[in-house]
Symmetry: C2
Subunit: 324 residues, 2 copies
Protein backbone atom coordinates (compact mmCIF):
# COMPACT_ATOMS: atom_id res chain seq x y z
CA UNK A 1 0.00 0.00 0.00
CA UNK A 2 1.30 3.43 -0.89
CA UNK A 3 1.65 6.13 1.71
CA UNK A 4 -0.35 9.34 1.32
CA UNK A 5 2.45 11.34 -0.27
CA UNK A 6 2.80 8.73 -2.98
CA UNK A 7 -0.97 8.72 -3.49
CA UNK A 8 -0.94 12.49 -3.91
CA UNK A 9 1.94 12.21 -6.36
CA UNK A 10 0.00 9.58 -8.31
CA UNK A 11 -2.97 11.96 -8.60
CA UNK A 12 -0.76 14.83 -9.75
CA UNK A 13 0.92 12.54 -12.23
CA UNK A 14 -2.36 11.22 -13.61
CA UNK A 15 -3.73 14.74 -14.08
CA UNK A 16 -0.52 16.01 -15.65
CA UNK A 17 -0.01 13.18 -18.11
CA UNK A 18 -3.50 13.56 -19.62
CA UNK A 19 -2.79 15.74 -22.60
CA UNK A 20 -5.51 18.21 -23.41
CA UNK A 21 -5.85 19.26 -27.06
CA UNK A 22 -3.93 22.43 -27.96
CA UNK A 23 -6.70 23.98 -30.08
CA UNK A 24 -8.83 26.00 -29.62
CA UNK A 25 -6.25 27.41 -27.23
CA UNK A 26 -8.62 29.62 -25.25
CA UNK A 27 -10.87 26.65 -24.52
CA UNK A 28 -8.20 24.26 -23.26
CA UNK A 29 -5.46 26.50 -21.82
CA UNK A 30 -7.69 27.62 -18.89
CA UNK A 31 -8.42 23.98 -18.04
CA UNK A 32 -4.74 23.09 -17.84
CA UNK A 33 -4.10 26.29 -15.88
CA UNK A 34 -6.84 25.48 -13.35
CA UNK A 35 -5.70 21.92 -12.83
CA UNK A 36 -2.02 22.86 -12.54
CA UNK A 37 -2.73 25.21 -9.67
CA UNK A 38 -2.60 22.37 -7.20
CA UNK A 39 -4.42 22.69 -3.94
CA UNK A 40 -4.86 19.86 -1.49
CA UNK A 41 -6.38 17.36 -3.96
CA UNK A 42 -8.64 16.59 -1.01
CA UNK A 43 -11.45 15.00 -3.03
CA UNK A 44 -9.40 12.53 -5.08
CA UNK A 45 -7.40 11.67 -1.97
CA UNK A 46 -10.60 10.82 -0.10
CA UNK A 47 -11.88 8.83 -3.07
CA UNK A 48 -8.71 6.75 -3.32
CA UNK A 49 -8.42 6.25 0.44
CA UNK A 50 -12.06 5.12 0.60
CA UNK A 51 -11.39 2.72 -2.27
CA UNK A 52 -8.25 1.49 -0.49
CA UNK A 53 -10.31 0.35 2.49
CA UNK A 54 -11.79 -2.41 0.34
CA UNK A 55 -8.98 -3.25 -2.09
CA UNK A 56 -5.21 -3.01 -2.19
CA UNK A 57 -5.14 -2.03 -5.86
CA UNK A 58 -6.85 1.32 -6.38
CA UNK A 59 -5.66 1.79 -9.99
CA UNK A 60 -9.18 1.38 -11.37
CA UNK A 61 -10.32 4.32 -9.24
CA UNK A 62 -7.79 6.80 -10.63
CA UNK A 63 -9.93 8.18 -13.51
CA UNK A 64 -12.88 8.72 -11.15
CA UNK A 65 -10.52 10.37 -8.63
CA UNK A 66 -9.37 12.71 -11.39
CA UNK A 67 -13.02 13.30 -12.38
CA UNK A 68 -14.01 14.60 -8.93
CA UNK A 69 -10.93 16.83 -8.84
CA UNK A 70 -11.72 18.23 -12.30
CA UNK A 71 -15.34 18.73 -11.23
CA UNK A 72 -14.23 20.56 -8.09
CA UNK A 73 -11.97 22.85 -10.11
CA UNK A 74 -14.81 23.47 -12.57
CA UNK A 75 -16.98 24.70 -9.69
CA UNK A 76 -14.18 27.01 -8.51
CA UNK A 77 -13.76 28.39 -12.03
CA UNK A 78 -17.46 29.28 -12.38
CA UNK A 79 -17.79 30.38 -8.72
CA UNK A 80 -14.97 32.87 -9.31
CA UNK A 81 -16.98 34.48 -12.12
CA UNK A 82 -20.09 34.65 -9.95
CA UNK A 83 -18.15 36.02 -6.96
CA UNK A 84 -16.09 38.34 -9.18
CA UNK A 85 -12.97 36.91 -7.52
CA UNK A 86 -9.75 38.10 -9.13
CA UNK A 87 -7.48 35.63 -7.37
CA UNK A 88 -7.49 31.87 -6.86
CA UNK A 89 -4.72 30.26 -4.83
CA UNK A 90 -2.71 33.46 -5.13
CA UNK A 91 -2.83 33.53 -8.94
CA UNK A 92 -5.20 35.39 -11.29
CA UNK A 93 -8.51 33.55 -11.62
CA UNK A 94 -9.42 32.28 -15.09
CA UNK A 95 -11.98 35.02 -15.73
CA UNK A 96 -9.48 37.67 -14.58
CA UNK A 97 -6.83 36.25 -16.91
CA UNK A 98 -8.89 35.33 -20.00
CA UNK A 99 -12.18 37.19 -19.62
CA UNK A 100 -15.67 36.16 -18.62
CA UNK A 101 -16.77 34.40 -21.80
CA UNK A 102 -13.69 32.22 -21.98
CA UNK A 103 -14.18 31.36 -18.30
CA UNK A 104 -17.81 30.34 -18.82
CA UNK A 105 -17.03 28.17 -21.83
CA UNK A 106 -13.83 26.57 -20.57
CA UNK A 107 -15.67 25.81 -17.33
CA UNK A 108 -18.36 24.05 -19.34
CA UNK A 109 -15.69 22.08 -21.18
CA UNK A 110 -14.12 21.19 -17.85
CA UNK A 111 -17.40 19.74 -16.57
CA UNK A 112 -17.63 17.63 -19.72
CA UNK A 113 -13.99 16.60 -19.24
CA UNK A 114 -14.88 15.40 -15.74
CA UNK A 115 -17.57 13.15 -17.23
CA UNK A 116 -15.07 11.92 -19.80
CA UNK A 117 -12.75 10.79 -17.03
CA UNK A 118 -15.66 9.27 -15.12
CA UNK A 119 -16.63 7.25 -18.21
CA UNK A 120 -13.29 5.40 -17.94
CA UNK A 121 -14.61 3.69 -14.83
CA UNK A 122 -15.11 -0.10 -15.19
CA UNK A 123 -18.27 -0.49 -17.34
CA UNK A 124 -20.19 -2.70 -14.91
CA UNK A 125 -20.03 0.03 -12.26
CA UNK A 126 -20.68 2.98 -14.53
CA UNK A 127 -24.49 3.33 -14.12
CA UNK A 128 -24.29 3.41 -10.33
CA UNK A 129 -21.25 5.70 -10.33
CA UNK A 130 -22.85 8.07 -12.83
CA UNK A 131 -25.89 8.30 -10.56
CA UNK A 132 -23.72 9.05 -7.51
CA UNK A 133 -21.69 11.61 -9.44
CA UNK A 134 -24.81 13.33 -10.83
CA UNK A 135 -26.49 13.55 -7.41
CA UNK A 136 -23.27 15.00 -6.02
CA UNK A 137 -22.87 17.49 -8.86
CA UNK A 138 -26.43 18.80 -8.69
CA UNK A 139 -26.17 19.06 -4.89
CA UNK A 140 -23.11 21.29 -5.23
CA UNK A 141 -25.05 23.56 -7.63
CA UNK A 142 -27.94 23.73 -5.16
CA UNK A 143 -25.50 24.68 -2.40
CA UNK A 144 -23.97 27.43 -4.53
CA UNK A 145 -27.44 28.81 -5.34
CA UNK A 146 -28.43 28.87 -1.64
CA UNK A 147 -25.12 30.58 -0.87
CA UNK A 148 -25.95 33.30 -3.44
CA UNK A 149 -29.54 33.52 -2.16
CA UNK A 150 -28.33 33.99 1.42
CA UNK A 151 -26.16 36.94 0.38
CA UNK A 152 -29.33 38.86 -0.45
CA UNK A 153 -31.13 37.93 2.76
CA UNK A 154 -31.17 39.82 6.06
CA UNK A 155 -31.05 36.74 8.25
CA UNK A 156 -30.06 33.12 7.81
CA UNK A 157 -30.88 30.48 10.42
CA UNK A 158 -28.06 28.25 11.56
CA UNK A 159 -29.94 25.19 10.25
CA UNK A 160 -30.19 26.81 6.81
CA UNK A 161 -26.49 27.60 6.89
CA UNK A 162 -25.56 24.05 7.86
CA UNK A 163 -27.74 22.67 5.06
CA UNK A 164 -26.11 25.03 2.57
CA UNK A 165 -22.54 24.03 3.48
CA UNK A 166 -23.59 20.39 3.53
CA UNK A 167 -24.65 20.79 -0.11
CA UNK A 168 -21.81 23.05 -1.17
CA UNK A 169 -18.95 21.20 0.53
CA UNK A 170 -19.94 17.92 2.17
CA UNK A 171 -21.93 16.40 -0.68
CA UNK A 172 -18.86 16.52 -2.93
CA UNK A 173 -16.78 14.70 -0.31
CA UNK A 174 -19.67 12.26 0.17
CA UNK A 175 -19.83 11.56 -3.55
CA UNK A 176 -16.06 11.08 -3.71
CA UNK A 177 -15.89 8.46 -0.94
CA UNK A 178 -18.99 6.66 -2.22
CA UNK A 179 -17.52 6.36 -5.70
CA UNK A 180 -14.22 5.17 -4.26
CA UNK A 181 -15.98 2.60 -2.08
CA UNK A 182 -18.08 1.35 -5.01
CA UNK A 183 -14.99 0.85 -7.16
CA UNK A 184 -13.31 -0.90 -4.24
CA UNK A 185 -16.21 -3.33 -4.06
CA UNK A 186 -17.85 -2.12 -0.85
CA UNK A 187 -21.35 -3.27 0.07
CA UNK A 188 -24.28 -0.82 0.25
CA UNK A 189 -24.15 -0.42 4.02
CA UNK A 190 -20.47 0.47 3.98
CA UNK A 191 -21.08 2.92 1.10
CA UNK A 192 -23.78 4.67 3.11
CA UNK A 193 -21.60 4.77 6.23
CA UNK A 194 -18.68 6.28 4.34
CA UNK A 195 -21.04 8.83 2.78
CA UNK A 196 -22.16 9.93 6.25
CA UNK A 197 -18.53 9.99 7.39
CA UNK A 198 -17.72 12.39 4.56
CA UNK A 199 -20.75 14.57 5.27
CA UNK A 200 -19.62 15.08 8.88
CA UNK A 201 -16.00 15.55 7.81
CA UNK A 202 -17.07 18.15 5.22
CA UNK A 203 -19.04 20.11 7.80
CA UNK A 204 -16.06 20.08 10.18
CA UNK A 205 -13.83 21.13 7.28
CA UNK A 206 -16.08 24.04 6.27
CA UNK A 207 -16.53 25.31 9.83
CA UNK A 208 -12.76 25.20 10.16
CA UNK A 209 -12.52 27.28 6.97
CA UNK A 210 -14.88 29.82 8.53
CA UNK A 211 -12.81 29.88 11.74
CA UNK A 212 -9.47 30.23 9.93
CA UNK A 213 -10.83 33.08 7.82
CA UNK A 214 -11.20 35.20 10.97
CA UNK A 215 -8.68 33.62 13.34
CA UNK A 216 -6.04 31.97 11.15
CA UNK A 217 -2.53 33.18 10.48
CA UNK A 218 -2.24 35.40 7.43
CA UNK A 219 1.14 34.06 6.41
CA UNK A 220 0.20 30.38 6.78
CA UNK A 221 -3.23 30.85 5.19
CA UNK A 222 -1.80 32.71 2.21
CA UNK A 223 -4.49 35.38 2.28
CA UNK A 224 -5.44 38.30 4.55
CA UNK A 225 -7.40 37.43 7.69
CA UNK A 226 -10.94 38.79 7.99
CA UNK A 227 -12.13 38.47 4.38
CA UNK A 228 -15.51 37.09 5.45
CA UNK A 229 -15.99 39.97 7.92
CA UNK A 230 -15.14 42.61 5.32
CA UNK A 231 -17.52 41.01 2.81
CA UNK A 232 -20.30 40.93 5.42
CA UNK A 233 -20.53 37.19 4.83
CA UNK A 234 -22.95 35.19 6.93
CA UNK A 235 -20.38 32.65 8.11
CA UNK A 236 -20.92 30.14 10.91
CA UNK A 237 -19.21 32.58 13.28
CA UNK A 238 -21.38 35.50 12.20
CA UNK A 239 -24.67 33.58 12.39
CA UNK A 240 -23.78 32.12 15.79
CA UNK A 241 -22.81 35.56 17.10
CA UNK A 242 -26.01 37.15 15.76
CA UNK A 243 -27.99 34.51 17.68
CA UNK A 244 -26.38 35.55 20.93
CA UNK A 245 -25.62 39.26 20.63
CA UNK A 246 -27.59 42.23 21.99
CA UNK A 247 -29.57 44.42 19.61
CA UNK A 248 -26.81 47.01 19.63
CA UNK A 249 -24.17 44.41 18.87
CA UNK A 250 -26.33 42.90 16.14
CA UNK A 251 -26.49 46.31 14.48
CA UNK A 252 -22.69 46.47 14.54
CA UNK A 253 -22.34 42.95 13.12
CA UNK A 254 -24.82 43.68 10.32
CA UNK A 255 -23.58 47.10 9.24
CA UNK A 256 -19.88 47.37 10.09
CA UNK A 257 -18.67 45.90 6.78
CA UNK A 258 -20.35 48.78 4.93
CA UNK A 259 -19.27 51.55 7.32
CA UNK A 260 -17.27 54.10 5.25
CA UNK A 261 -15.80 55.69 8.41
CA UNK A 262 -13.87 52.59 9.48
CA UNK A 263 -10.64 51.07 8.17
CA UNK A 264 -10.56 47.37 7.32
CA UNK A 265 -8.56 46.66 10.48
CA UNK A 266 -11.12 48.54 12.59
CA UNK A 267 -14.02 46.63 11.03
CA UNK A 268 -12.33 43.29 11.70
CA UNK A 269 -11.46 44.31 15.27
CA UNK A 270 -15.05 45.43 15.97
CA UNK A 271 -16.55 42.15 14.81
CA UNK A 272 -13.94 39.96 16.47
CA UNK A 273 -14.47 41.82 19.76
CA UNK A 274 -18.09 40.66 19.69
CA UNK A 275 -17.09 37.16 18.58
CA UNK A 276 -14.67 36.97 21.52
CA UNK A 277 -17.23 38.34 23.97
CA UNK A 278 -19.56 35.46 23.13
CA UNK A 279 -16.82 32.84 22.96
CA UNK A 280 -17.60 32.18 19.29
CA UNK A 281 -14.16 30.75 18.39
CA UNK A 282 -14.43 28.15 21.16
CA UNK A 283 -18.06 27.34 20.25
CA UNK A 284 -16.97 26.84 16.65
CA UNK A 285 -14.07 24.62 17.71
CA UNK A 286 -16.49 22.55 19.75
CA UNK A 287 -18.72 22.06 16.72
CA UNK A 288 -15.73 21.13 14.57
CA UNK A 289 -14.60 18.55 17.13
CA UNK A 290 -18.11 17.18 17.52
CA UNK A 291 -18.53 16.64 13.80
CA UNK A 292 -15.04 15.28 13.38
CA UNK A 293 -15.53 12.78 16.22
CA UNK A 294 -18.84 11.70 14.69
CA UNK A 295 -17.05 11.15 11.38
CA UNK A 296 -14.34 9.01 12.98
CA UNK A 297 -16.89 7.01 14.97
CA UNK A 298 -18.65 6.11 11.73
CA UNK A 299 -15.42 4.60 10.41
CA UNK A 300 -15.49 2.16 13.34
CA UNK A 301 -18.83 0.80 12.17
CA UNK A 302 -17.56 -0.34 8.76
CA UNK A 303 -17.61 -4.08 8.09
CA UNK A 304 -13.82 -4.19 7.73
CA UNK A 305 -10.99 -4.59 10.21
CA UNK A 306 -9.86 -1.38 11.87
CA UNK A 307 -6.44 -1.59 10.21
CA UNK A 308 -8.12 -1.07 6.80
CA UNK A 309 -9.39 2.36 7.84
CA UNK A 310 -6.15 3.59 9.42
CA UNK A 311 -4.93 5.54 6.41
CA UNK A 312 -8.21 7.35 5.86
CA UNK A 313 -8.41 8.06 9.59
CA UNK A 314 -4.88 9.46 9.62
CA UNK A 315 -5.56 11.58 6.54
CA UNK A 316 -8.79 12.99 8.00
CA UNK A 317 -6.98 13.78 11.25
CA UNK A 318 -4.24 15.61 9.36
CA UNK A 319 -6.94 17.76 7.73
CA UNK A 320 -8.32 18.75 11.08
CA UNK A 321 -4.93 19.91 12.30
CA UNK A 322 -4.53 22.18 9.29
CA UNK A 323 -3.80 25.88 9.59
CA UNK A 324 -4.70 26.64 5.97
CA UNK B 1 -44.94 3.27 -35.97
CA UNK B 2 -45.89 6.74 -34.80
CA UNK B 3 -45.98 9.61 -37.22
CA UNK B 4 -43.66 12.55 -36.63
CA UNK B 5 -46.26 14.73 -34.92
CA UNK B 6 -46.86 12.01 -32.37
CA UNK B 7 -43.13 11.61 -31.88
CA UNK B 8 -42.78 15.33 -31.23
CA UNK B 9 -45.68 15.19 -28.78
CA UNK B 10 -44.01 12.27 -27.00
CA UNK B 11 -40.83 14.33 -26.58
CA UNK B 12 -42.75 17.34 -25.26
CA UNK B 13 -44.65 15.07 -22.91
CA UNK B 14 -41.51 13.36 -21.63
CA UNK B 15 -39.80 16.70 -20.96
CA UNK B 16 -42.91 18.17 -19.31
CA UNK B 17 -43.68 15.28 -17.00
CA UNK B 18 -40.18 15.22 -15.50
CA UNK B 19 -40.70 17.28 -12.38
CA UNK B 20 -37.75 19.40 -11.43
CA UNK B 21 -37.31 20.20 -7.73
CA UNK B 22 -38.91 23.47 -6.64
CA UNK B 23 -36.01 24.61 -4.44
CA UNK B 24 -33.70 26.44 -4.80
CA UNK B 25 -36.13 28.25 -7.10
CA UNK B 26 -33.54 30.32 -8.95
CA UNK B 27 -31.59 27.20 -9.85
CA UNK B 28 -34.49 25.16 -11.24
CA UNK B 29 -36.98 27.74 -12.55
CA UNK B 30 -34.65 28.82 -15.41
CA UNK B 31 -34.26 25.17 -16.47
CA UNK B 32 -38.02 24.67 -16.71
CA UNK B 33 -38.33 28.02 -18.46
CA UNK B 34 -35.69 27.12 -21.06
CA UNK B 35 -37.17 23.71 -21.78
CA UNK B 36 -40.74 25.02 -22.00
CA UNK B 37 -39.79 27.46 -24.72
CA UNK B 38 -40.18 24.80 -27.36
CA UNK B 39 -38.31 25.15 -30.57
CA UNK B 40 -38.15 22.42 -33.20
CA UNK B 41 -36.90 19.64 -30.89
CA UNK B 42 -34.72 18.85 -33.89
CA UNK B 43 -32.09 16.89 -31.99
CA UNK B 44 -34.36 14.50 -30.08
CA UNK B 45 -36.44 14.02 -33.24
CA UNK B 46 -33.32 12.98 -35.16
CA UNK B 47 -32.24 10.70 -32.30
CA UNK B 48 -35.59 8.92 -32.17
CA UNK B 49 -35.93 8.68 -35.95
CA UNK B 50 -32.41 7.23 -36.18
CA UNK B 51 -33.31 4.73 -33.47
CA UNK B 52 -36.55 3.91 -35.31
CA UNK B 53 -34.60 2.77 -38.37
CA UNK B 54 -33.40 -0.25 -36.38
CA UNK B 55 -36.28 -0.96 -34.00
CA UNK B 56 -40.02 -0.36 -33.87
CA UNK B 57 -40.00 0.40 -30.16
CA UNK B 58 -37.98 3.52 -29.45
CA UNK B 59 -39.13 3.89 -25.82
CA UNK B 60 -35.66 3.07 -24.47
CA UNK B 61 -34.24 6.02 -26.42
CA UNK B 62 -36.52 8.64 -24.87
CA UNK B 63 -34.27 9.62 -21.92
CA UNK B 64 -31.28 10.01 -24.26
CA UNK B 65 -33.47 12.04 -26.66
CA UNK B 66 -34.39 14.32 -23.77
CA UNK B 67 -30.71 14.47 -22.75
CA UNK B 68 -29.59 15.87 -26.13
CA UNK B 69 -32.43 18.41 -26.07
CA UNK B 70 -31.52 19.50 -22.53
CA UNK B 71 -27.86 19.70 -23.59
CA UNK B 72 -28.79 21.84 -26.61
CA UNK B 73 -30.83 24.21 -24.45
CA UNK B 74 -27.94 24.39 -21.97
CA UNK B 75 -25.65 25.59 -24.78
CA UNK B 76 -28.21 28.22 -25.81
CA UNK B 77 -28.50 29.42 -22.22
CA UNK B 78 -24.75 29.92 -21.82
CA UNK B 79 -24.29 31.21 -25.40
CA UNK B 80 -26.86 33.91 -24.66
CA UNK B 81 -24.71 35.14 -21.77
CA UNK B 82 -21.59 35.14 -23.95
CA UNK B 83 -23.39 36.87 -26.84
CA UNK B 84 -25.21 39.24 -24.48
CA UNK B 85 -28.46 38.24 -26.21
CA UNK B 86 -31.56 39.64 -24.51
CA UNK B 87 -34.04 37.49 -26.41
CA UNK B 88 -34.40 33.79 -27.13
CA UNK B 89 -37.30 32.58 -29.27
CA UNK B 90 -39.02 35.94 -28.76
CA UNK B 91 -38.88 35.77 -24.96
CA UNK B 92 -36.35 37.24 -22.51
CA UNK B 93 -33.24 35.07 -22.30
CA UNK B 94 -32.46 33.52 -18.91
CA UNK B 95 -29.65 35.95 -18.11
CA UNK B 96 -31.87 38.89 -19.10
CA UNK B 97 -34.65 37.61 -16.85
CA UNK B 98 -32.71 36.30 -13.83
CA UNK B 99 -29.25 37.85 -14.12
CA UNK B 100 -25.87 36.54 -15.17
CA UNK B 101 -24.95 34.51 -12.11
CA UNK B 102 -28.24 32.63 -12.06
CA UNK B 103 -27.81 31.95 -15.77
CA UNK B 104 -24.30 30.54 -15.33
CA UNK B 105 -25.30 28.28 -12.46
CA UNK B 106 -28.63 27.07 -13.80
CA UNK B 107 -26.87 26.35 -17.09
CA UNK B 108 -24.37 24.20 -15.19
CA UNK B 109 -27.22 22.39 -13.46
CA UNK B 110 -28.86 21.87 -16.84
CA UNK B 111 -25.74 20.20 -18.21
CA UNK B 112 -25.71 17.89 -15.19
CA UNK B 113 -29.43 17.24 -15.71
CA UNK B 114 -28.65 16.17 -19.29
CA UNK B 115 -26.19 13.60 -17.93
CA UNK B 116 -28.80 12.44 -15.44
CA UNK B 117 -31.21 11.73 -18.27
CA UNK B 118 -28.47 10.05 -20.27
CA UNK B 119 -27.70 7.76 -17.31
CA UNK B 120 -31.19 6.26 -17.68
CA UNK B 121 -30.04 4.63 -20.90
CA UNK B 122 -29.89 0.80 -20.78
CA UNK B 123 -26.82 -0.03 -18.68
CA UNK B 124 -25.10 -2.26 -21.24
CA UNK B 125 -24.99 0.62 -23.72
CA UNK B 126 -24.06 3.36 -21.26
CA UNK B 127 -20.25 3.36 -21.66
CA UNK B 128 -20.43 3.70 -25.45
CA UNK B 129 -23.24 6.25 -25.29
CA UNK B 130 -21.42 8.30 -22.66
CA UNK B 131 -18.36 8.36 -24.93
CA UNK B 132 -20.44 9.51 -27.90
CA UNK B 133 -22.22 12.15 -25.82
CA UNK B 134 -18.95 13.45 -24.34
CA UNK B 135 -17.26 13.72 -27.75
CA UNK B 136 -20.32 15.56 -29.04
CA UNK B 137 -20.47 17.90 -26.06
CA UNK B 138 -16.80 18.87 -26.16
CA UNK B 139 -17.04 19.38 -29.93
CA UNK B 140 -19.86 21.88 -29.46
CA UNK B 141 -17.73 23.79 -26.92
CA UNK B 142 -14.83 23.83 -29.39
CA UNK B 143 -17.16 25.19 -32.08
CA UNK B 144 -18.42 27.94 -29.79
CA UNK B 145 -14.84 28.92 -28.91
CA UNK B 146 -13.84 29.10 -32.60
CA UNK B 147 -16.96 31.17 -33.26
CA UNK B 148 -15.89 33.64 -30.54
CA UNK B 149 -12.28 33.58 -31.81
CA UNK B 150 -13.44 34.39 -35.36
CA UNK B 151 -15.31 37.47 -34.14
CA UNK B 152 -11.98 39.01 -33.20
CA UNK B 153 -10.27 38.10 -36.46
CA UNK B 154 -10.03 40.17 -39.64
CA UNK B 155 -10.46 37.24 -42.01
CA UNK B 156 -11.79 33.72 -41.80
CA UNK B 157 -11.19 31.19 -44.56
CA UNK B 158 -14.23 29.31 -45.82
CA UNK B 159 -12.66 26.01 -44.70
CA UNK B 160 -12.27 27.38 -41.18
CA UNK B 161 -15.86 28.52 -41.19
CA UNK B 162 -17.14 25.15 -42.36
CA UNK B 163 -15.10 23.40 -39.67
CA UNK B 164 -16.50 25.77 -37.03
CA UNK B 165 -20.15 25.18 -37.98
CA UNK B 166 -19.47 21.46 -38.24
CA UNK B 167 -18.37 21.53 -34.60
CA UNK B 168 -20.98 23.99 -33.39
CA UNK B 169 -24.00 22.53 -35.19
CA UNK B 170 -23.33 19.28 -37.03
CA UNK B 171 -21.50 17.40 -34.28
CA UNK B 172 -24.55 17.67 -32.03
CA UNK B 173 -26.79 16.22 -34.73
CA UNK B 174 -24.14 13.55 -35.37
CA UNK B 175 -24.06 12.63 -31.70
CA UNK B 176 -27.86 12.49 -31.55
CA UNK B 177 -28.28 10.08 -34.47
CA UNK B 178 -25.36 7.92 -33.31
CA UNK B 179 -26.87 7.55 -29.84
CA UNK B 180 -30.27 6.77 -31.36
CA UNK B 181 -28.76 4.19 -33.69
CA UNK B 182 -26.80 2.56 -30.85
CA UNK B 183 -29.93 2.22 -28.72
CA UNK B 184 -31.76 0.84 -31.74
CA UNK B 185 -29.11 -1.86 -32.07
CA UNK B 186 -27.35 -0.61 -35.21
CA UNK B 187 -23.97 -2.05 -36.20
CA UNK B 188 -20.82 0.10 -36.24
CA UNK B 189 -20.90 0.75 -39.98
CA UNK B 190 -24.49 1.99 -39.87
CA UNK B 191 -23.65 4.19 -36.85
CA UNK B 192 -20.78 5.79 -38.77
CA UNK B 193 -22.93 6.28 -41.86
CA UNK B 194 -25.69 7.96 -39.87
CA UNK B 195 -23.10 10.16 -38.18
CA UNK B 196 -21.86 11.35 -41.58
CA UNK B 197 -25.48 11.83 -42.70
CA UNK B 198 -26.07 14.13 -39.74
CA UNK B 199 -22.83 16.05 -40.32
CA UNK B 200 -23.90 16.87 -43.90
CA UNK B 201 -27.46 17.64 -42.80
CA UNK B 202 -26.17 19.95 -40.05
CA UNK B 203 -23.99 21.86 -42.52
CA UNK B 204 -26.97 22.26 -44.89
CA UNK B 205 -29.09 23.35 -41.92
CA UNK B 206 -26.58 25.95 -40.76
CA UNK B 207 -26.00 27.38 -44.25
CA UNK B 208 -29.78 27.66 -44.57
CA UNK B 209 -29.80 29.56 -41.25
CA UNK B 210 -27.22 31.95 -42.68
CA UNK B 211 -29.26 32.40 -45.86
CA UNK B 212 -32.56 32.96 -44.04
CA UNK B 213 -30.92 35.53 -41.76
CA UNK B 214 -30.35 37.80 -44.78
CA UNK B 215 -33.01 36.59 -47.24
CA UNK B 216 -35.81 35.10 -45.14
CA UNK B 217 -39.19 36.58 -44.39
CA UNK B 218 -39.25 38.63 -41.20
CA UNK B 219 -42.75 37.54 -40.26
CA UNK B 220 -42.18 33.83 -40.86
CA UNK B 221 -38.72 33.89 -39.27
CA UNK B 222 -39.98 35.71 -36.17
CA UNK B 223 -37.04 38.10 -36.08
CA UNK B 224 -35.81 41.05 -38.16
CA UNK B 225 -33.94 40.20 -41.36
CA UNK B 226 -30.28 41.21 -41.59
CA UNK B 227 -29.15 40.57 -38.01
CA UNK B 228 -25.89 38.94 -39.16
CA UNK B 229 -25.14 41.89 -41.45
CA UNK B 230 -25.74 44.46 -38.69
CA UNK B 231 -23.53 42.48 -36.30
CA UNK B 232 -20.77 42.29 -38.92
CA UNK B 233 -20.89 38.52 -38.55
CA UNK B 234 -18.67 36.42 -40.75
CA UNK B 235 -21.47 34.21 -42.08
CA UNK B 236 -21.16 31.85 -45.03
CA UNK B 237 -22.63 34.58 -47.24
CA UNK B 238 -20.18 37.19 -45.99
CA UNK B 239 -17.09 34.98 -46.31
CA UNK B 240 -18.12 33.83 -49.79
CA UNK B 241 -18.76 37.41 -50.88
CA UNK B 242 -15.42 38.59 -49.45
CA UNK B 243 -13.69 35.90 -51.53
CA UNK B 244 -15.19 37.29 -54.72
CA UNK B 245 -15.59 41.03 -54.21
CA UNK B 246 -13.33 43.86 -55.39
CA UNK B 247 -11.15 45.70 -52.89
CA UNK B 248 -13.67 48.55 -52.75
CA UNK B 249 -16.55 46.16 -52.15
CA UNK B 250 -14.55 44.29 -49.50
CA UNK B 251 -14.07 47.57 -47.65
CA UNK B 252 -17.82 48.11 -47.70
CA UNK B 253 -18.51 44.56 -46.49
CA UNK B 254 -16.00 44.88 -43.67
CA UNK B 255 -16.90 48.32 -42.39
CA UNK B 256 -20.55 49.00 -43.22
CA UNK B 257 -21.90 47.48 -40.00
CA UNK B 258 -19.96 50.06 -37.98
CA UNK B 259 -20.76 53.07 -40.21
CA UNK B 260 -22.51 55.67 -38.02
CA UNK B 261 -23.82 57.56 -41.06
CA UNK B 262 -26.04 54.73 -42.30
CA UNK B 263 -29.39 53.47 -41.05
CA UNK B 264 -29.83 49.75 -40.41
CA UNK B 265 -31.88 49.43 -43.60
CA UNK B 266 -29.14 51.15 -45.60
CA UNK B 267 -26.44 48.89 -44.16
CA UNK B 268 -28.45 45.79 -45.02
CA UNK B 269 -29.21 47.08 -48.51
CA UNK B 270 -25.53 47.90 -49.16
CA UNK B 271 -24.35 44.42 -48.20
CA UNK B 272 -27.16 42.60 -49.99
CA UNK B 273 -26.44 44.59 -53.17
CA UNK B 274 -22.95 43.09 -53.17
CA UNK B 275 -24.28 39.63 -52.27
CA UNK B 276 -26.71 39.85 -55.20
CA UNK B 277 -24.02 41.10 -57.57
CA UNK B 278 -21.97 37.97 -56.92
CA UNK B 279 -24.94 35.62 -56.87
CA UNK B 280 -24.25 34.69 -53.26
CA UNK B 281 -27.82 33.53 -52.47
CA UNK B 282 -27.77 31.08 -55.37
CA UNK B 283 -24.25 29.87 -54.52
CA UNK B 284 -25.39 29.27 -50.96
CA UNK B 285 -28.48 27.40 -52.13
CA UNK B 286 -26.27 25.23 -54.31
CA UNK B 287 -24.11 24.36 -51.32
CA UNK B 288 -27.17 23.60 -49.23
CA UNK B 289 -28.54 21.28 -51.92
CA UNK B 290 -25.17 19.61 -52.39
CA UNK B 291 -24.82 18.82 -48.72
CA UNK B 292 -28.43 17.77 -48.38
CA UNK B 293 -28.17 15.41 -51.35
CA UNK B 294 -24.99 13.94 -49.88
CA UNK B 295 -26.83 13.37 -46.63
CA UNK B 296 -29.73 11.59 -48.34
CA UNK B 297 -27.38 9.48 -50.46
CA UNK B 298 -25.73 8.23 -47.28
CA UNK B 299 -29.08 6.96 -46.01
CA UNK B 300 -29.25 4.70 -49.09
CA UNK B 301 -26.05 2.96 -48.03
CA UNK B 302 -27.41 1.75 -44.68
CA UNK B 303 -27.74 -2.02 -44.23
CA UNK B 304 -31.53 -1.79 -43.87
CA UNK B 305 -34.37 -1.76 -46.39
CA UNK B 306 -35.20 1.64 -47.84
CA UNK B 307 -38.61 1.67 -46.18
CA UNK B 308 -36.91 1.80 -42.76
CA UNK B 309 -35.32 5.15 -43.59
CA UNK B 310 -38.42 6.79 -45.09
CA UNK B 311 -39.46 8.67 -41.97
CA UNK B 312 -36.01 10.12 -41.31
CA UNK B 313 -35.73 11.03 -45.00
CA UNK B 314 -39.12 12.77 -44.94
CA UNK B 315 -38.24 14.61 -41.73
CA UNK B 316 -34.88 15.78 -43.12
CA UNK B 317 -36.60 16.93 -46.31
CA UNK B 318 -39.16 18.92 -44.31
CA UNK B 319 -36.26 20.70 -42.56
CA UNK B 320 -34.80 21.73 -45.89
CA UNK B 321 -38.07 23.28 -46.98
CA UNK B 322 -38.25 25.41 -43.85
CA UNK B 323 -38.62 29.15 -43.94
CA UNK B 324 -37.67 29.58 -40.29
Amino acid sequence: MQNNERLLAAIENFLAQRDLPSEPARLYAPIGYSLAEGGKRLRPMLLLLACGIFTDDTTAAMPAAAAVEVFHNFTLLHDDIMDNAALRRGKPSVHAKWGRNVAILSGDAMLIYAYRLLAETPAALLPRIMETFNDMAIGVCEGQQYDMDFEERETVAIEEYMRMIELKTSVLLGGAVTIGALIGGANDTDCRTLYRFAIELGLAFQLQDDLLDSYGDEHTLGKPIGGDILEGKKSYLMITALDRASQQERDILCTVSRDPMLSDAEKIAAVKAIYDRYDIPRLTEQQISLKFERALALLDTLSVGRERTERLRAYATSLMGRKK
